[in-house]
Amino acid sequence: MTPMIRAQNITKTYVSKGIETRVLRGISLHIKKGEFVAIMGRSGAGKSTLLYQLSLLDTPTEGKIFLSDEDTSNLSNEERTRFRLHRLGYVFQDYALIPDLTAIENVMIPLLMQGMSQKKAEEKSLKSLERVELSHRKDNLPSELSGGEQQRAAIARAVVHTPDIIFADEPTANLDTVSSKAVLDLLLELHKKGQTIVMVTHEEEYGALAERIIRLSDGVVVS
């Protein structure tokens, strides 16, 4: 079976004021379709950096990343943007909702960009909000939602266009225990329906919920 994500010898080096910092050192990995993988490691291990490379938010210094067997290393900026729009979903640590848009508008925006009509986008977004039990707050601005509600709205946005992979970067970091559990339950539910999920977390308890854990230390996969 073709892996959903295939990374080959990924390195990432940052240069600041002439000083090179090698954050990822030749990482290779495979993630299968429908797999729920947690990337774990201590602070500074390079787990978020790896997620940014895999999710096409950043470009590795060396190495290749294949998503659904498509080599992403030769994609232009515009093509990477399009790839993210149609094939990937994101859940960020601090929710990353647009403050001028209501919950439903935040969810709708990728659909509108895909060319869907406003009416259809609204219907589909409402269903997505229903899935995360937030339809009753659809017309609220992010500032009117609690942290847990904002993260649920972010998950609704991440899944509304049925992406191939969802990337979640510390999705529970800013949440209390109850809200964290609700968010993880949502991710697990999506996984059960066949969704490929890659989640970065430093919480052992939450990482244990994933199907597989990739542990990083000093920019290399240790297990």
Binding site: T81, F83, R84, L85, L88, D100, L112, M113, Q118, R157
Partner: protein, 422 residues
């Protein structure tokens, strides 16, 4: 990869984002920006409009109070329009003509307080133009009586009275006496001695005229028959005819002019429409003021552009993280940039609409009803539709560019760095 980002979806997302940003922006900020746009537009239109209006006020006064729509003058080489009675007879019978005023012109010396003048003291006198008019026809044609600022209008049977232009008299003139010669201590009721060649006669000042037209304020008016007598003229010819038309348009004026030329009067007189008759210096000043007005206004335009640039730049830079997130989830960069352009466009359109309402709904009518009382002109606000809408376009275009550049600067930054707030 199949291209699905159609231009349509980019536009739609841009409007979706732009409209919501405007709707949910701080209302006071929005009001302030729109206020700046409206003021900039007013600056663009009003500054040059008033400068041009100053001269247009002069031109209008010249036409209304002196030349009429058709202005017939003697050839430079002659003293009179030959065969004037025939020309006046044609004017009398032309259905397009509402009124006309034949005038005799002469130059002379005017002296006041001559009864008490001491031998070694310079006379209180000026050299000035003299106009011999038919007071009734003149008033019908140019409304000269409306220019009386003191005293009474000339009676057709008054052979001893004159009207004196305000800029010949020290106490009424807007030009200081050290620049031009002025009659001192002369007012209504004063006796003045008018001399033409070797002929002199004493007259009484009946009224003072001020119509902000030099050809009136620097002249003395008396009955035509009286001037003819004083200047020794023997025939019935006149020097100048102002013609007022029923339809005071350029087309109508050209038609009447052509009729007169067709009757052969072009050989004995200069026949001009009021536009052709306007003094050249007025036309030159009008062009100069228009250039000056546009130069001053363009500074306002630059200030508005910088203001909007700063507003959009601050707006975009404080939202750069959200811009990064939008890019991160796959929103086209151009859609985000366009959302800021839509905001700029909104501010410009609302601002100029308010400006247009202020100009055409309030300022232009107000200036017409109450012109600014400048010493040499009744200043009005000139805002022709074509150039005004050109300025609307210019302001909108400037604000679009001023909105696009900062948006582009912020949007093109690295997506991940923007998301991480770096």
């Amino acid at each position: 990869m199949k291209r699905i980002h159609t231009f349509r979806s980019v536009i739609r997302v841009a409007f979706f984002l732009g409209i919501r940003q405007i709707r949910r922006a701080n209302p006071w900020t929005t009001v302030l920006i729109i206020f700046i746009m409206a003021l900039t537009f007013l600056n663009l239109v009003v500054v040059s409009g008033i400068l041009v209006g100053l001269i247009e006020g002069s031109e209008s006064a010249y036409k209304e109070k002196y030349s009429g729509e058709i202005f017939i003058t003697k050839p430079q080489t002659k003293d009179f329009i030959e065969n004037s009675p025939a020309l006046l007879s044609v004017l009398e019978n032309l259905p397009e003509v509402k009124a006309y005023s034949p005038r005799i012109l002469s130059g002379g010396n005017i002296e006041a307080n001559y009864h008490n003048r001491l031998i070694n003291v310079a006379p209180n006198s000026v050299s000035a133009g003299l106009s011999g008019i038919d007071p009734i026809l003149e008033d019908k044609t140019t409304g000269l009586s409306e220019g009386i600022v003191r005293g009474i209008y000339l009676d057709p049977l008054d052979n001893d009275g004159v009207l004196v232009g305000s800029n010949l008299l020290e106490q009424y003139s807007v030009v200081p006496g050290d620049i031009i010669s002025l009659l001192k201590n002369t007012d209504i009721g004063s006796k003045i001695l008018i001399t033409i060649g070797g002929s002199s006669k004493e007259y009484t000042v009946r009224g003072i005229l001020n119509l902000k037209v030099d050809d009136i304020t620097l002249r003395v008016f008396m009955n035509k028959s009286e001037l003819r007598l004083l200047s020794g003229g023997q025939n019935a010819n006149v020097s100048q005819i102002a013609v007022r038309l029923k339809n005071p348009t350029e087309t109508s004026a050209l038609f009447v002019k052509n009729v007169l030329l067709g009757n052969g009067f072009g050989d004995t007189a200069n026949i001009k429409t009021w536009i052709e008759a306007q003094p050249k210096f007025l036309k030159d000043i009008k062009v100069t003021f228009a250039i000056l007005g546009n130069a001053i206004s363009s500074i306002g335009l630059v200030v508005a552009a910088i203001t909007l640039f700063i507003v959009i730049f601050i707006n975009a830079i404080t939202r750069r993280r959200y811009i990064g997130i939008l890019k991160g989830i796959g929103i086209d960069e151009f859609a985000i940039e366009l959302s800021y352009v839509i905001q700029s466009f909104f501010y410009a359109v609302i601002g100029t609409t308010i400006g247009l309402i202020a100009v055409y709904g309030f300022l232009v009518p107000s200036f017409l009803a109450h012109p600014i009382d400048f010493p040499f002109s009744d200043g009005i606000l000139v805002a022709p539709i074509g150039p005004t809408f050109f300025k609307v376009g210019l302001l909108v275009l400037t604000t679009i560019i001023a909105g696009y550049i900062p948006a582009k600067m912020i949007v093109r930054r690295n997506t991940l760095e923007a998301i991480l707030g770096k």
